[in-house]
């Protein structure tokens, strides 16, 4: 029987980081064109479509509008929207749909003109920009003036209190990611930075400085997933989905059960169990770096280090180029690109690494890569483990 094992066969990036001439829908389309060309599949073979709800029907980039725009007459559609980690959830869902035979080939797309649309608002604006009444559970926080950065700062402060984590340790994450950004000609910021640079950058919301925060860019990405069988005839070597698991511990930050433990502690072990590997087996990690604290909580949750040991772990240089767990090798959200939801870029970079196509940032002999996305406010977390080789 032909293998229906799900694989990623095509990847595509739209242009980034500053692209004034493209709107969100066009970012979706450009990334999709490049992903289709990358694998060489006939567009007509795509019978599944997955995307977030994006800006919604008003902007025309919700999943059904995008399926029409892209011309995908799907047998399987999924519009899961859980924030930046949506695409790790999408891979989980698409893999299941492909295995089950709901469809054969799935196109996943993302596009955002966030930087061009919003201008440079310093990255500290909230979701609610005017004095309109705030509905739902956000009315327990937004009226007090809680910026996105402030929500993550609450977690960082608690981590410092419980474990003695320092601003220097958090800064080390930003410094390592910037080093990789220097190898990516398209990255938003490429000049090397030091721990002192991070600490002397403006304090936005204690204890997070400007350089603890991700950049704001335009951009888009696309993935094509199919069966191992179909991928045999395509241009690129298949990258196998070995594990994919997600969880949600809360949505609003004020409902986070424990501010020093994120859902990675749940979905990480589940994904590792599916793949039959351990954290020590992973060659490169792509971890959602919305803020430095996000990465630290993820490292602990996934088991790359023990709980509360994230500070010491990053200080040892594991995340750096040449370290034991090179992380965010494209320059991450902290330095390269973050158009609002970054999850798809984690997967694209993981695939590039496993194909051996990561250029100067290539991790030698990378065979296993992990992508972990965080959506909302450390809320909806999903882990995907990808492999170069056929699972045994």
């Amino acid at each position: 029987m032909p293998s229906r094992h799900p694989v990623i066969c095509g990847i595509g990036l739209s242009d980034y980081p500053v692209v004034p001439h493209l709107n969100s829908v066009q970012h979706h389309a450009l990334a999709a064109r490049r992903a289709i060309a990358d694998c060489g599949i006939a567009k007509s073979a795509i019978d599944g479509y997955v995307s977030t709800s994006g800006g919604g029907p008003a902007e025309g980039d919700d999943a059904v509008s995008m399926a029409e725009y892209l011309g995908v007459n799907h047998r399987y559609i999924n519009g899961t929207m859980v924030g930046g980690s949506s695409f790790e959830f999408h891979v989980q869902h698409a893999a299941a749909a492909i295995r089950e035979g709901l469809c054969d080939t799935v196109l996943i797309t993302y596009g955002s003109d966030q930087l061009t649309r919003m201008g440079r608002v310093l990255g500290t604006g909230g979701f609610q920009r005017d004095a309109q009444p705030v509905t739902g559970a956000m009315q327990m926080a937004t009226p007090y003036g809680l910026p996105l950065v402030g929500a993550y700062a609450l977690a960082a402060r608690r981590h410092m209190h419980e474990f003695g984590t320092t601003s220097e340790q958090l800064a080390e994450i930003a410094v390592g990611v910037r080093e990789f950004a220097g190898l990516n000609p398209d990255a938003r910021y490429r000049d090397p930075i030091t721990v002192d640079d991070v600490l002397s950058s403006r304090m936005i919301a204690d204890p997070l400085h400007k350089l603890d925060c991700c950049v704001i860019t335009d951009g888009g990405g696309a993935l094509v997933m199919t069966t191992e069988e179909i991928a045999r005839d395509l241009r690129q070597p298949p990258i196998y989905v070995l594990g994919a698991a997600g969880t949600q511990t809360h949505w609003n930050i004020h409902q986070m059960p424990d501010f020093t433990e994120m859902g990675a502690a749940v979905c990480g072990p589940e994904a590792f169990a599916q793949a039959g590997v351990t954290p020590a087996d992973i060659d490169t990690a792509q971890l959602y770096d919305s803020f430095t604290i996000t990465v630290m909580l993820m490292l602990e949750g996934l088991g790359f280090c023990g709980r509360g040991e994230g500070g010491a772990y990053v200080e040892e240089g594991h995340l750096r180029r040449g370290g034991s767990m090179p992380t965010n090798t494209d320059g991450g959200g902290l330095s390269s690109n973050h158009p609002g939801m970054r999850g798809i870029f984690l997967l694209i970079e993981a695939v590039r690494q496993l194909r051996g196509d990561a250029g100067e940032a290539q991790v030698p002999d990378a065979e296993l890569a992990l992508a972990c996305g965080s959506g909302g406010w450390l809320s909806a977390i999903a882990t995907v483990i990808l492999g170069k080789d056929r699972p045994s």
Binding site: V121, L122, T124, G125, G126, Q128, R129, D130, A131, Q132, P133, V134, T135, G136, A137, Q139, M140, A141, T142, P143, Y144, G145, L146, P147, G150, A153, L154, A155, R157, R158, H161, R202, M203, I204, A205, D206, P207, L208, I253, H254, Q255, F259
Partner: protein
């Protein structure tokens, strides 16, 4: 609970739909409400129409209005005009009743805030009949 009248408030306000409205209306009368489940005893905040533990219908209970700081941040930059007066402190407060509540922490030098410090709730009205909960050092 002390109630401060602040009808000049220009920032975003809670919409107060459903259970939220009862919470903010009680605050304006000096009562800090949380919810308790009559079936399983679970306590929760924010208010909603279901017990998150067992699925039954929760009931209101009044909290003492005391707590300790679980974590906090000092907001020093925020590109929203209503919050131009910087810096200010936002905190998660552990209540002795067993729930955690988010709010503004006032009446203290931001540099002096510490995790674990005891705080007291007060209410600040944003219209004639509704108030938001704030905290100050006990």
């Amino acid at each position: 609970m002390r109630v401060v009248s602040d009808l000049e408030w220009q920032g975003p306000v809670p919409a107060g739909e459903g259970e939220y409205g009862e919470f903010f209306a009680a605050a304006a009368k000096g009562r800090l409400l949380i919810q308790q489940c009559p079936e399983c005893g679970h306590r929760q905040h924010y208010p909603r129409a279901i017990c998150t533990a067992c699925g039954a219908e929760p009931e209101w209970m009044e909290a003492a209005g005391t707590g300790t700081v679980y974590t906090y941040t000092v907001v020093r930059q925020y590109g929203v005009p209503a919050f131009a007066e910087l810096p200010y402190v936002l905190a998660m407060i552990d209540l002795p009743e067993g729930v955690r509540m988010f709010g503004g922490l006032t009446g203290i030098d931001p540099e002096a805030v510490e995790i674990g410090m005891p705080v007291t709730a007060y209410a600040r009205t944003y219209d004639e009949t509704h108030a938001m909960i704030f905290w100050e050092p006990a």
